[in-house]
């Protein structure tokens, strides 16, 4: 599948700016058009442009897949000729492996269809010897998007230089052929770090700052609904829940910016929306780790574990249909519009007591308070902390991280100081919590299974729950060490010093 047309999307291509398709060659050289190839290719990527973000472009032509980086072919393999797929749907190959690294658990789907026309040319000297070859490639149909790929022949550098000059020959313009062809097709690669970083200056009033955080979070949540309804991949639901949680948390973290009654209503509605998807998300988490769980038990228990997962798969299908139906329901759509309207304009919600407080002041006092609270909870931990105690710390950490993520621009030094130790602790607490949730999920299955639960499935459930328990214990130890670093006296002091005085931004 590879060829000059693919190089046309790389840095080796040059803008074809000759006045006619068959340009005039330097004196003594004769241009001969050769083969013309015309075909459609699909550009494939994940919904979050994960391949593009990794510097990769995946093309599909019929059932052939070609992965390139900077115009150079990295790997080729056969794949489905239509629709999307996950990397694990492909046969084991270098291409599948590279896609796995770049796409993770996201589905790879066609994002654009491009018409490619590649015309080969040869240039000969007076002896009829070919001294230069080039391919003119047009993608997306527009004449302005032509580039040529030079194919110089060894020993004929002077002729190649003269020909390139006649063809235009400048380096390809910014953006390259692919970007321009995608733009022509109405597609724009959008990369997102997943972080919510609004443009917020330290002196911005708290209500306006909060509105600038909540509004995009809601938009992101609504945007993911289509993927959930289509059941493209599980990340749509994940991103939906994260966005709802961020919007809800932001409103809670900066209570006082808006009228309490209005905020409470919105938070309840967002909480209900997220809660409606809890079961589906739990099942997703479990099913995503299906292979890992199957491999973690002895061979003899695998059929029973497979049976468990088959049951979960069936339940997930039912749950997904129910969630999709709820998302499509008219009252949900109306509720979304109502909530969005509250944050789309500055006067949507009634202002609260702290509405006009500069955001840096509002945030700095909250950051200091959260950090101190985590330190206090850490001091209360005994040698054998209870799960509930660690859970409480995890929640406080999450609130602190959200504060810093949403309003980093208001308190940049504190955000920078806390970023790494906080992330380290959260990763460990998150892993500990995931193991605990999954263990509880299994025990719940066991408790509600009734007498029809076969012995082998019961043993499988017990084994998996035991493994998760042991796994959780490992994460717990790691979390303890990370917590000590986060609440060390020196870090507490650094953070306190980095935060502005509460009234320093008051007009």
């Amino acid at each position: 599948m590879g060829g000059a047309w693919m190089e046309a999307f790389g840095p080796g291509a040059r803008d074809f700016s000759a006045p006619s398709p068959d340009p005039t060659m330097p004196s003594g050289l004769v241009l001969s058009p050769r083969a013309v190839e015309e075909f459609d290719v699909e550009v494939m990527d994940t919904p979050s442009w994960g391949l593009w973000g990794s510097g990769l472009v995946l093309f599909r032509r019929d059932s052939s897949l070609a992965l390139q980086r900077a115009g150079a072919l990295l790997a080729e393999a056969a794949g489905p000729s239509a629709g999307g797929f996950f990397w694990w749907d492909l046969r084991k190959s270098e291409l599948a492996e590279r896609l796995g690294e770049a796409s993770g658990i996201r589905k790879i789907e066609p994002v654009a269809r491009l018409r490619v026309v590649a015309r080969d040319y040869e240039v000969s000297n007076a002896d009829g010897k070919v001294v230069f070859r080039f391919v003119v490639v047009c993608a997306g149909g527009a004449a302005t998007q032509r580039v040529f790929v030079p194919r110089p022949l060894r020993g004929y550098g002077a002729e190649a230089a003269a020909c390139c000059l006649a063809l235009g020959g400048s380096d390809v313009r910014e953006g390259g052929l692919l970007e321009r062809a995608l733009a022509d097709a109405g597609v724009s690669p959008h990369l997102s770090s997943g972080l919510l970083r609004a443009e917020i200056g330290p002196g911005l009033p708290a209500a306006e700052a909060l509105r600038r955080v909540v509004s995009p979070a809601l938009k992101t949540a609504w945007k993911n609904e289509e993927g959930i309804i289509r059941d493209t991949d599980t990340e749509f639901l994940h991103d939906y829940r994260v966005s709802l949680r961020k919007a809800r948390s932001a409103l809670g973290l900066l209570s006082g910016a808006f009228d309490a009654a209005g905020v409470s209503k919105v938070r309840d509605a967002l909480g209900s929306m997220a809660a409606r998807t809890n079961r589906l998300r739990d099942l997703d988490v479990y099913l995503l780790a299906r292979r890992e769980h199957e491999d973690s038990v002895p061979e003899v228990l695998r059929p029973a574990v497979r049976g468990l997962f088959d049951g979960m798969s069936e339940e997930r299908a039912r749950e997904q249909a129910a969630v999709a139906s709820a998302l499509m329901a008219p009252h949900h759509q109306e509720l979304k519009q109502e909530i969005s309207a509250l944050f789309d304009r500055p006067d949507g919600l009634k202002p609260g007591l702290e509405a006009e407080v500069p955001i840096a002041s509002a945030v700095s006092s909250r950051v200091a308070r959260r950090h101190r609270k985590i330190a206090k909870l850490a001091r209360e931990l005994g040698a054998e902390p209870a799960d509930a105690q660690l859970h409480a710390i995890r929640i406080q950490c999450k609130k602190l991280r959200y504060l810093l993520e949403f309003f980093a621009a208001a308190v940049p030094p504190a955000a920078a100081i806390l970023e790494h130790p906080l992330r380290r602790l959260q990763n460990r607490l998150g892993a500990f919590n995931d193991a605990a949730v999954q263990r509880e999920f299994l025990l719940d299955l066991w408790q509600h299974a009734g007498p029809e639960l076969s012995n082998d499935r019961a043993v499988a459930l017990g084994t998996l729950a035991g493994l998760l328990h042991a796994q959780g214990a490992g994460f717990r130890a790691g979390a303890h060490r990370a917590l000590e670093a986060l609440v060390s006296p020196s870090l507490l002091k650094s953070v306190r010093r980095s935060l502005p005085a509460p009234d320093s931004f008051c007009p």
């Binding site: 002896d127 009829g128 010897k129 070919v130 022949l153 060894r154 020993g155 004929y156």
Partner: protein, 249 residues
């Protein structure tokens, strides 16, 4: 990298036709190939429409690989490069004579190209010169076209004698019948007799064909303009036979 020389003491036996068509067959077989036109007449260079070089990189203390690389030209066929002939070859023997290890200079030069090519074909001028001895020492196979005539048989015997006199490995010599005519009685008689005297004869016989002469008109290998003629098929078969000999098929 394997080095194949197209060589004969005698002129006009089909050395250049062999070099051109063998090189082409090698590149079609997927081998990165270099044809070195060592003959000042530059016929192989002409067949590929390449210009002869102004100066060949000869130096006082050895042949220059940098100069050689700069002189290489890509042919019209993917995977086949040409080192064109040069009028400087007239002084080749004199230049070699002034160098240390003068009989191995070509081998040293070819060793430098080992990473660039899978196969090198040397198109040699006739004669038993110092350049010829360099060719003998550089080549893995010395392919000798033999027209089934008495004089050709005699020059083949002279080549074997030279190898014996100079302690060169005669097993590299692989003669084959070239420009053979089955309707010619003397040809058929000698084609029966010579292999008994020289058992290293290759099986492939390249017949006399007008198409071979037309290479000059087309300025391209015979396989490109008359691929089904007996001579084109013979060269293709010959390439397979020599590749099999070197375990490269």
């Amino acid at each position: 990298m394997k080095i194949f020389a197209s060589y004969s003491i005698k002129g006009g036996v089909g050395k250049t036709s062999l070099s051109v068509n063998l090189s082409y067959a090698f590149c079609r077989a997927g081998l990165q190939t270099l044809l070195v036109d060592l003959d000042p007449q530059g016929a192989a260079t002409f067949y590929f429409r390449v210009s002869t070089t102004e100066k060949f990189p000869l130096k006082g203390d050895g042949l220059s690989v940098a100069g050689l690389r700069a002189a290489i030209r890509e042919s019209d066929y993917s995977g086949l490069d040409i080192l064109p002939a040069s009028p400087s070859y007239r002084k080749f023997d004199i230049a070699l004579d002034g160098m240390r290890k003068s009989r191995k200079q070509l081998r040293f030069l070819m060793d430098e190209l080992a990473s660039d090519y899978d196969a090198v074909v040397l198109d040699c001028p006739p004669g038993l010169t110092l350049l010829a001895e360099n060719v003998f020492r550089a080549s893995d196979l010395l392919l000798v076209p033999v027209i089934p005539t008495v004089l050709s048989g005699r020059t083949l015997a002279q080549a074997y004698a030279f190898f014996a006199d100079h302690d060169l490995p005669s097993e590299v010599i692989r003669p084959f019948f070239s420009m053979a005519q089955s309707s010619h009685r003397m040809h058929t008689d000698l084609m029966a007799a010579l292999p008994t005297q020289f058992p290293a004869f290759l099986k492939t016989v390249v017949p006399h064909a007008a198409s071979v002469e037309k290479m000059g008109l087309h300025r391209s290998p015979i396989q490109t303009f008359d691929p089904d003629c007996p001579a084109a098929r013979a060269y293709a078969a010959l390439s397979l036979e020599v590749l099999a000999l070197r375990g490269q098929n």
